[in-house]
């Protein structure tokens, strides 16, 4: 009799690897699909766990407030993004018990693993900022980082006839660190188109000492805010959001008044991480080796995407680039080989600048975003506004569902940062701070 069930294979002593992936978003889905390509179902079971079946194309959230697309347009079932022979479990996670290699699910069942991949991303900790989710939340104070928030903001912007709008990043790290800046550029273009730009005061409020984290890019993006008449307030550490009074109040007691606030709340890892001994750091992110993605505390645990505590941006492109190294390393780990320490922190982001134009930036752990072209001298212009980049950003949604999630290699796109086409003039290397 042919042995088909995993229990049967186990009973016969056939080694079957049990790979459990927590999170069915960008990182979890592409990892599962890539693993399925290298392991036959008889060699490994792959189980993806997620608490709901809504796979959201998160870059699309940026456009929803401006009436471009709806939440329905950017959401698909998680299950259907997974290849055949990948198990899908729709459940929350209570905790991970590292000592026994077990994941405890909220439905009361347990999942044992040989390798665990944490891909549960980042969550918004709205409650960590006093007043943020209090009176005025979703009436005068919004975020576009959630589907509900983006949809509510669309209605609020539509009705907005003039006044002070602040866009505030409470603290880093956040997902897609350029998105709040893009929101400012798009808001500028949106109100111009409506003919009321002169009645709207736009202010970008950040805890950083510039518009962005990377010096060269920060200068350019800061200049773009200035060109559009968007005020920049730096080193503002929001302590309280007063929705009723319409004020952002910093810990040093300075205040910024608003009629409408778009706030990006602080981010944390998934809740179960905090409930799992030795799994994550103080913020619930998973500490992993920055080149292999293996947990620094448990060799059979890996993390990908926003869930990982890395100095790379929390962005879909990073999860995509990490995927290749991660899958190789899971394979090597299960084979008892040395891991591949080649993830270089590669980040690639389109930055919408309004009026159907966008910039593109490409960088890694060591190299700042530079001018030039990507992925080579004949490619898309870097650090420069162009219509081509905007079209690239729009085309990316199709690529996301049809190539990136299924785990296909994208033509001309490598997981390591390409050097060709870039203008390597000083300063090219970031200063090592340790």
């Amino acid at each position: 009799m042919r042995c088909t069930s995993i229990a049967c294979l186990y009973a016969m002593g056939v080694p079957v690897h049990r790979i459990v992936i927590l999170g069915g978003g960008t990182g979890g889905t592409l990892t599962a699909n890539r693993l399925r390509k290298i392991y036959h179902p008889d060699e490994a079971t792959i189980t993806v766990v997620d608490q709901n079946d809504d796979h959201l194309y998160q870059p699309g959230l940026l456009f929803v407030p401006f009436g471009v697309g709806t939440i329905k347009d950017i959401t698909r079932p998680r299950r259907t993004q997974l290849h055949r022979d990948i198990h899908y479990s729709s459940s929350g996670v209570t905790k991970v018990e590292l000592a026994s290699n077990t994941v405890c699910l909220t439905d009361g069942s347990d999942l044992d693993y040989d390798v665990l991949v944490i891909a549960t991303g980042a969550t918004l900790s709205t409650d960590e900022t006093e007043g943020l989710s209090g009176p005025g939340w979703m009436e005068k104070v919004f975020t576009f980082y959630t589907p509900e928030g983006a949809a509510a903001l669309a209605a609020a912007l539509r009705d907005f006839q003039g006044g002070r709008i602040v866009v505030n990043v409470v603290d880093m790290p956040i997902k897609c660190p350029v998105a709040p800046l893009e929101f400012c550029f798009l808001a500028d273009a949106y109100f111009r188109k409506r003919g009321i730009r002169d009645r709207v005061e736009l202010t970008y409020v950040t805890p950083l000492d510039g518009a962005f984290t990377k010096p060269v890019c920060s200068k350019q993006l800061g200049g773009m805010l200035d060109d559009r008449g968007i005020k920049l307030v730096t080193e503002f550490n929001t302590g309280v959001v007063d929705g009723t009074g319409g004020r952002l109040i910093a810990y040093d007691e300075s205040e910024i008044p608003f009629d409408l606030a778009v706030v990006i709340p602080v981010h944390s890892g998934a809740t179960y991480v905090a409930n799992s001994e030795e799994l994550g750091d103080e913020l619930g992110f998973i500490e992993v080796d920055e080149h292999t993605l293996q947990s620094t505390t448990s060799p059979n645990v890996f993390a990908i995407g926003d869930a990982a505590a890395l100095s790379a941006s929390k962005a879909g492109s990073v999860a995509h680039f990490e995927g290749e190294v991660l899958v190789e390393n899971i394979h090597r780990f299960l084979d008892g080989q040395n891991l591949d320490a080649s993830f270089d922190g590669h980040v690639n982001c389109f930055i919408e600048s309004g009026s159907s134009r966008a910039l593109l930036i490409d960088f890694n752990y060591e190299t700042e975003p530079l001018t030039g072209h990507y992925p080579g001298s004949l490619g898309l212009p870097l650090m420069k506004e162009s219509r081509l980049n905007h079209l690239g950003k729009l085309a990316f949604q199709w690529i996301y569902w049809h190539s990136l999630l299924p785990g296909r290699n994208l033509p001309f796109v490598t997981s390591h940062m390409p050097r060709a086409g870039k203008n390597f003039v000083a300063p090219i290397q970031k200063e090592h701070s340790r």
Partner: protein, 105 residues
């Protein structure tokens, strides 16, 4: 990069005033560094944060952010700003003789 004298010893500070070589740091230097930041004297509460920053740096290779400090140091974020009005993580790191905490990107 500038050379300066802290607690009678010549040391190098980077452009932002952080000690270039954290291993040269002494508590006496911390007093001088704090004075440069307008903090004089360093109270027990200041020292608690400064020592915490330094031990985190020595254990992990990087000083914590304000948010992490608020969660782990036993001092609330509000109190941290009262102690170090110009920015707790940056100022306490400077006084603790460790590099500026890495900005998350």
């Amino acid at each position: 990069m500038t050379t300066t004298t802290l607690a009678g010893i010549d040391v190098e500070l980077n452009d932002e005033g952080f000690l270039v070589e954290p291993s040269q740091w002494t508590e006496a230097m911390a007093v001088d560094l704090a004075r440069k930041e307008g903090i004089d004297p360093l109270t027990d509460e200041h020292w608690k944060v400064v020592h915490f920053m330094r031990s985190e740096y020595l254990a992990k290779g990087s000083g914590p952010s304000v948010r992490v400090l608020g969660k782990t140091s036993g001092v609330t974020i509000k109190e941290l700003y009262q102690l170090f009005p110009k920015g707790p993580a940056k100022t306490a790191a400077k006084i603790a003789g460790i590099p500026k905490p890495k900005g998350c990107i």
